[in-house]
């Protein structure tokens, strides 16, 4: 077995960290759902945390561990605050799409219009239905429309 301080262990851990970070980065750059973007950001944070822990173990001190615990604490707080923002944004526009806020652009710059939406988005596929149990909930007229593109 490789010792925890070995270079091979460090490389493995750093690779995992880099993959996590890159996945998060790609997620942030490509997804427009606010919650998914937030998850992607958290993933980048975890990638960094893995690297820190790896280096800490490699050098045999506690600095990296302490910092990671600290990052976790801050991330928890941040998650609470960020979710409030996301909820507020959703209740304003009824959408979780980050592009719903593109009206905050410069007045002289034209609106960016989505092109070539997947056909699936245009008409949602029929969802599998389960056998009814209990009382049928009263249908909410607005809700399906709001959730359409999530």
């Amino acid at each position: 077995m490789n010792s925890p301080q070995s270079l091979a262990m460090l490389q493995n851990a750093l690779t995992v960290g880099a993959i996590l970070f890159s996945l998060g980065l790609v997620g942030i750059l490509t997804r427009r759902n606010l919650i998914v973007m937030f998850l992607a950001a958290e993933m980048m944070l975890q990638g960094i945390s893995v690297s820190l822990v790896a280096w800490s173990r490699h050098h045999g001190d506690w600095g990296g561990h302490v910092l990671v615990i600290f990052v976790l604490t801050v991330a928890a707080c941040e998650a609470a605050v960020a979710l409030v923002f996301v909820l507020q944004a959703f209740s304003r526009t009824g959408r979780l799409d980050a592009a719903a806020w593109q009206s905050l652009r410069e007045a002289t710059v034209g609106r960016t219009v989505d092109r070539g939406l997947p056909a699936a988005d245009a008409a949602p596929p029929p969802f599998p239905t389960l056998t009814q149990a209990g009382v049928l909930p009263a249908p909410n007229e607005d809700e399906p429309l709001q959730r359409e593109h999530v």
């Binding site: 980065l25 942030i28 750059l29 490509t30 427009r32 973007m37 980050a98 592009a99 806020w101 593109q102 009206s103 905050l104 652009r105 410069e106 002289t108 710059v109 960016t112």
Partner: protein
């Protein structure tokens, strides 16, 4: 009050109106209809103090008994308040200038070097008291008081009531300081201050466009004259190395001769002649022309009648416009050294007198008639000053005094008419007012008789002295008998003055005008003006007060219908009566006793050898009196033929004058000529300047401002509002830095 010295009293004369003005400004809102009280108290106090000072000064003048038993001793008193400015070693006179020439023995001994090498520049705030100042102060404060009393009736109910009295008190302060200042720079300061008061009072009803325009015109035309005064002050400093009137003593105990101080006055060569002296005098004359509305700067005064009538009476008839007379009289020794400049003063004066009188003959606005009459009478005074003789100077001040009485009376009478006629002042719209305004009519008639020069009213005597002064210059031989007496007494002095006149000084081209022929022409012009004066004065009297009684529809009388009285209230008629008594009596009193002439001849400026040597015994010139009376009689008779007993809106004048009527009614086209020569080119220049400012200068600034806007426009396109793009930009930035760092660490 043990320290009630003349110096304290002298300071009180300007101080009291100033305090009155300040209190009127501060308490105006509170006092409302009683806002005249502080101003009037201040002016009344100043008038009382001025009369005390006049008496005190008169006590100091040596008595006139005996055939010039002793030469008149100059009387002056200086009260220095504080030093306004003081610099050491400010002036080194050019060699050969009078400043270098006048030096005291003590100076050279004390300094161990030639006096006048280098001297400091200091402006002491000094007031002076001499016969000329005392006379002027009395006129200013007394007329000011009467006008203030009158204004309580005339301005009653005006929304600007406190403002009016504050300005009048402010004016009395400025004017008293102007005549009491003993320094050319202070004179300049208060010269401007009275101009500012005049501007504010002409534009008193500033919501009326004509009044605002007239105020602006007066201010701008006066600037031309003030420019002359400024240059004259510079030249005086360069030439004499001081701006003080009086001698001062430097900290080293050296006497510094003032420009009009006794050291220089006693020196026959103390004053610059030639080109520099003439330039100074002509610039002073320009200043006087501006303030005293003489040709070619007279155009502002008729328009200034847009102001309230009491202000017109005080400022534009009795006092401020005489500042030019005062200035020339004060600078008599300077002018006496430049015969050409003196002749120019007379030519300007006599021409103005004639031209203004001609314009006055066709005016239909009662106040305008009086305005042109004021210009004409001021022209008389200038003609008299220009003779350069003691008689000429004293006659001018004598006429100034009588004119202040009767012209203030006439203006206040015109104001009384205007007040009762509901603001109408066009003589064609009313007539026969003697039946409905008896007091105004009677006092106006007294003023008109005085102005026309009918014996024994005031104007007759002062005009007679002016004509005598001009006559003496035109026909010297006829007056030789007088001169012989004087020559015997003051022969050596005259010879000395003559030697310096001809030898040491360069003749200026203008001096060639100083010939008897010129003076004869000026005399005949003045005599013609006397006739015209009588004509237009009585034309106004006949048009306003005789003929069928007519009042404009806007007037509202009081009393029974059909017997309404339009007479003004007592505060307005009382000053009229006082001034009428003065106009009737003051000329005869002062002429018979020769008190004023003798009193004024003790003024330091008039004791200069060149002036004092021209003294002639007091005499009544029967031949001139007959000529003057004849001219006045012709004028009155012609006016009576045209207007007595007729409706005042008839076409008599047009038929009588024919094409000349057009010329006179258009005021010799002065306004049009100035508009074409000065106003239009300046407006064109202003337009060009405005365009350059708007498009070139502002354009350049705007162009610079557009650079950041354009640069921002490029970057602005990236602000799409899409978070992913912002994040991408951030990632690209981080990647760039990483690549660069890797590039660095590679080696």
């Amino acid at each position: 009050m043990q320290d009630l010295s003349p110096a304290t009293l002298l300071v009180l004369v300007p101080l009291l109106p100033l305090v009155g003005a300040i209190f009127t400004v501060l308490l105006g809102r509170v006092l409302g209809g009683r806002a005249h009280l502080p101003a009037m108290a201040g002016i009344a106090g100043a008038a009382a103090v001025a009369i005390l000072l006049l008496a005190a000064t008169a006590r100091d003048v040596s008595p006139a008994h005996g055939p010039r038993a002793e030469p008149i001793r100059p009387v002056e008193m200086i009260a220095t308040l504080w030093n306004w400015a003081s610099f050491d070693d400010a002036y080194a006179p050019p060699p050969g200038s009078p400043a270098a020439a006048v030096r005291s023995v003590a100076d050279a001994a004390a300094q161990g070097r030639t006096a006048g090498d280098v001297r400091g520049f200091s402006i002491p705030v000094a007031l002076r008291l001499d016969p000329l100042t005392a006379t002027m102060l009395t006129i200013i404060t007394c007329v000011g008081l009467l006008v203030a009393i009158y204004s309580t009736g005339y301005m009653h109910g005006d929304p600007g009531y406190p403002r009016f009295f504050a300005l009048v008190a402010m004016f009395v302060f400025s004017m008293s300081m102007l005549v009491a200042a003993s320094n050319f720079l202070l004179v300049y300061v208060f010269w401007e201050a009275v101009g500012a008061c005049s501007y504010l009072l002409i534009g008193f009803w500033f919501t009326k466009p004509e009044a605002a325009r007239a105020a602006k015109k007066a201010f701008l035309v006066n600037r031309v004259g003030d420019f002359g005064l400024a240059i004259a002050v510079f030249l005086l400093w360069m030439t004499y190395g001081t701006l003080d009137f009086h001698d001062t003593i430097s900290p080293q105990g050296v006497i510094m001769p003032g420009i009009l101080g006794q050291t220089r006055l006693a020196d026959a060569a103390g004053y610059a002649g030639g080109a520099v002296g003439t330039a100074i005098c002509l610039l002073l004359l320009l200043a006087a022309c501006g303030k005293s509305a003489q040709l070619p700067l007279h155009v502002w005064l008729p328009d200034a009648m847009e102001g309230p009538t009491p202000a017109s009476a005080l400022i534009h008839a009795a006092t401020m416009v005489t500042a030019g007379i005062y200035l020339v009289a004060r600078c008599a020794p300077l002018f006496a050294a430049c015969p050409g400049a003196l002749t120019a003063v007379s030519i300007v004066g006599a021409t103005t007198a004639l031209v203004a009188a001609l314009i006055g003959t066709v005016q239909n606005d009662l106040k305008r008639v009086l305005a042109y009459s004021t210009i004409s009478q001021l022209g008389y005074m200038f003609a008299s000053l220009g003779t350069g003789t003691l008689l000429g100077f004293t006659a001018a001040i004598f006429h100034l005094l009588t004119h202040a009485c009767f012209k203030a009376l006439l203006f206040l009478g015109a104001g009384s008419v205007m007040h009762s006629m509901g603001g109408v002042i066009d003589m064609r719209r009313f007539g026969g007012l003697r039946r409905v305004m008896p007091v105004t009519a009677a006092t106006f008639l007294v003023g008109a008789l005085a102005l026309a020069g009918v014996a024994p009213f005031a104007g007759f005597f002062s005009k007679d002295e002016i004509l005598a002064a001009l006559h003496a210059k035109g026909w010297p031989s006829a007056h030789d008998s007088h001169h012989a007496v004087v020559a015997a007494a003051e022969g050596p002095l005259r010879l000395a003055a003559f030697a310096t006149d001809t030898g040491a000084r360069d003749a200026v081209g203008l001096d060639a005008l100083d010939r008897p022929e010129t003076w004869r022409l000026l005399f005949w012009m003045s005599l013609a003006t006397a006739g015209l004066t009588a004509f237009y004065t009585f034309r106004a009297v006949f048009m306003t007060f005789t003929g069928p009684t007519r009042v404009p529809s806007g007037a509202h009388g009081h009393g029974e219908h059909g017997h309404e009285s339009y007479e003004s209230p007592a505060p307005m008629t009382l000053p009229l009566i006082v001034l009428a008594v003065a106009s009737a009596a003051v000329g005869w009193l002062l002429f018979a006793t020769n008190w004023l002439s003798h009193f004024l001849s003790a003024t330091p400026s008039l004791t200069a050898p060149a002036v004092a040597s021209t003294a002639v015994p007091h005499a009544f010139h029967l031949d001139l009196a007959i000529q003057g009376t004849l001219a006045a009689a012709i004028g009155i008779v012609v006016a009576a033929i045209g207007h007595l007993g007729r409706r005042s809106d008839g076409p008599q004048m047009e038929r009588f004058l024919g094409p000349l009527q057009t010329l006179f009614a258009n005021k010799f086209y002065f306004d049009q000529i100035y508009a074409a020569l000065v106003v239009r080119p300046l407006e064109a220049l202003a337009l060009v300047a405005a365009l350059v400012d708007r498009h070139v200068i502002d354009g350049a600034v705007d162009a610079i401002a557009r650079i950041p806007v354009a640069a921002g426009g490029i970057i602005r396109r990236s602000q799409s509002g899409l978070m992913q793009r912002y994040a991408l930009a951030g990632v690209m930035g981080v990647l760039t830095i990483v690549v660069l760092l890797a590039w660095q660490l590679r080696g």
